[in-house]
Amino acid sequence: MMTPVYITSTGWHLPGPAISNDQVEVVLGAVNGKPSGLRAQIQKANGIQTRHYGIDANQQTTVSNTQMAVLAGQECMDRAFRPIHQVGMLAVASTQGDHPVPGLASFVQAGLGMAEVEILTAQSICSSSMMALKGAWLALRCDEHEAALVVATEMPSRLLKRQRYEAATESTFAKKTVDFNTEFLRWMLSDGAGALLLETAPRPKGLSFRIDWMKGWSHAHALPTCMSVGSSGKAEEDRTWQDYETYADAERDGALLLRQEVRLLDHIVRLGVDGYVRLVQEGLNVPSEVDHFLCHYSSHHFRPKILDMLDAAGVGIPDEKWWTNLYTRGNTGAASLFIMLDEFVRTQNPKVGERILCFVPESGRFNTTYMHLTVVDSDGR
């Protein structure tokens, strides 16, 4: 019998004021002084109304990725009954830390002043949060630690500010009138951090989430890269950023721009459905017993036909069970699910015994991750 593990506290940090759609380009900057022709269209499609950035309207950094993670971690620990010196492990996830090396967990550990803890850094895109969480969950299940702090933090604004695009003078972005693939994520992503405290006992007062299972499937063996930084996006170019003579060459060629191959994006929804049905077949996912579905899904303005098929196949989740705060807090990538869980527990009044299914897809190279939680009281019931 493995040790049960609970999420006993949550916290977040969203930097600066909430930024409305028409202010986004003020913060990120208009590339070469020219307003984007795609911004309004992409914002309408993703439905996000407000988000936060760790840079100001002069594109100057106001808070680092490390600092956001530390602030979220502190808020989480402020709400916890366990003091931070009794937390044995720190797992941190992000798409990109402040330094390429060493791993972000070292910096966050220093910021939080956690002495002699075991650390884990997970680096990918959205699903890196689930990778860090799974590492920490398993460590507690195996009695390696009694408590672990898991922080997911994301700061894409520094990749998306106008200066990045202006410096890419020989990129596809500079050459085309419209470069949808390179501009798409500029109007999708924003900054923020979320933190979860895991313990082997529920919190003594109030509610905790028991983690029942976590699963993930990656499809990189079959599908090409869909979301990335590090290559120019030119069909004939196979160098990645460090293969250029200088980093300046790489930047000029657009190899440091964040890019999404939009044509491949449909696959992430379908593969998400595949994993979901697979979990039904394996008996882990019982949709009729799910009370809340928390899904890191960045656009709900279209309803893919495949969701109708899930209904036909008897495993759909009714719309009223879906819950997200993406539209007000922004798409914060890896941090998104933790930020969602934090607001959910504080505002949605979950009841003991309710079951929560979480889904975090990552389009990078098509990773799909799932988690099942049960709301429990201080006795773990």
């Binding site: 499809h219 491949l264 593969l271 459905v273 697979r278 709900h300 309803r303 819950w323 705060n325």
Partner: protein, 247 residues
């Protein structure tokens, strides 16, 4: 905005109803199991199609008119023989499966001459009619056709539903995903009418398909057989697209 999902200010549930998304067929448990399996086979098929070199060129934007002619030449040989296995499957259905037989026959009527459309697309893409008429099947088409004829020859081959699931799904994918992109990259119109024609037919087919699935799925053995046929068809169809011979 308290976290509830809205589309342009309308809660998602109402919005879904407005677009008719809630028109869900009422399938029995066994048919639902079959549909779940078929969904997974389809998603895997679609994912793996991305690895087919010719289709990858669609994503990369390097697909040319010569690629298109090559695709049509290779597809035609299977399509032209498609009506044979459809007719065979229909005649293998006994009186207890007459509804299914009717559905298959309707399907045969819909499709048994559509290779002429494909041939015309080929000519419009700059090919010689003689060249497409006088080709044999490629390695994948040969295997695909042989398997279909073998299954269709079994008594009451209800697993052909698994084959139709993949083939119809592909028809829709061609119509909605490939055709426009192909015409755009080849900078020529009138070369994908075979593909768009298939997609246009499919909404009706879907409802009929659900009804048939519900009727034939009496136990898990049937479901397993349908799933297996869908898997083999998916693999052989991809093989056909991987084994493209030159024009």
């Amino acid at each position: 905005m308290d976290g509830k999902i809205e589309i342009d200010g309308v809660p998602v549930k109402e919005a879904a109803e407005a677009i008719g998304a809630n028109d869900v067929p009422d399938l029995g448990d066994v048919a639902q199991d079959a549909l779940r399996r078929l969904l997974r086979v389809w998603i895997g098929f679609e994912r793996d199609l991305v690895t087919v070199p010719l289709l990858r060129r669609l994503d990369l934007g390097t697909y040319t008119l010569a690629d298109h002619r090559r695709l049509l030449v290779n597809l035609r040989q299977q399509v032209v023989e498609g009506s044979r296995w459809i007719a065979r499957a229909a005649s293998s259905m006994d009186r207890d499966h007459s509804e299914l037989r009717s559905m298959i026959l309707r399907h045969a009527v819909d499709e048994h001459r559509d290779y002429t459309m494909l041939e015309q697309d080929y000519v419009n893409a700059g090919g010689e009619l003689e060249a497409i008429l006088n080709r044999g099947k490629n390695v994948g088409s040969e295997a695909f056709h042989a398997f279909m004829m073998q299954r269709a020859s079994q008594p009451n081959p209800v697993d052909m539903l698994g084959a139709m699931w993949i083939i119809e799904g592909l028809g829709e994918r061609m119509a909605t995903g490939w055709a426009t992109r192909m015409e755009e990259l080849c900078e020529r119109e009138g070369i994908t009418r075979f593909m768009t024609y298939h997609g246009a037919n499919d909404d009706d087919h879907m409802q009929r398909f659900y009804a048939m699935l519900d009727e034939v799925c009496v136990d898990v053995h049937v479901v397993e057989r349908i799933e297996m046929t869908a898997k083999v068809v998916a693999r052989l169809y991809r093989l056909q697209l991987e084994e493209l011979e030159d024009e």
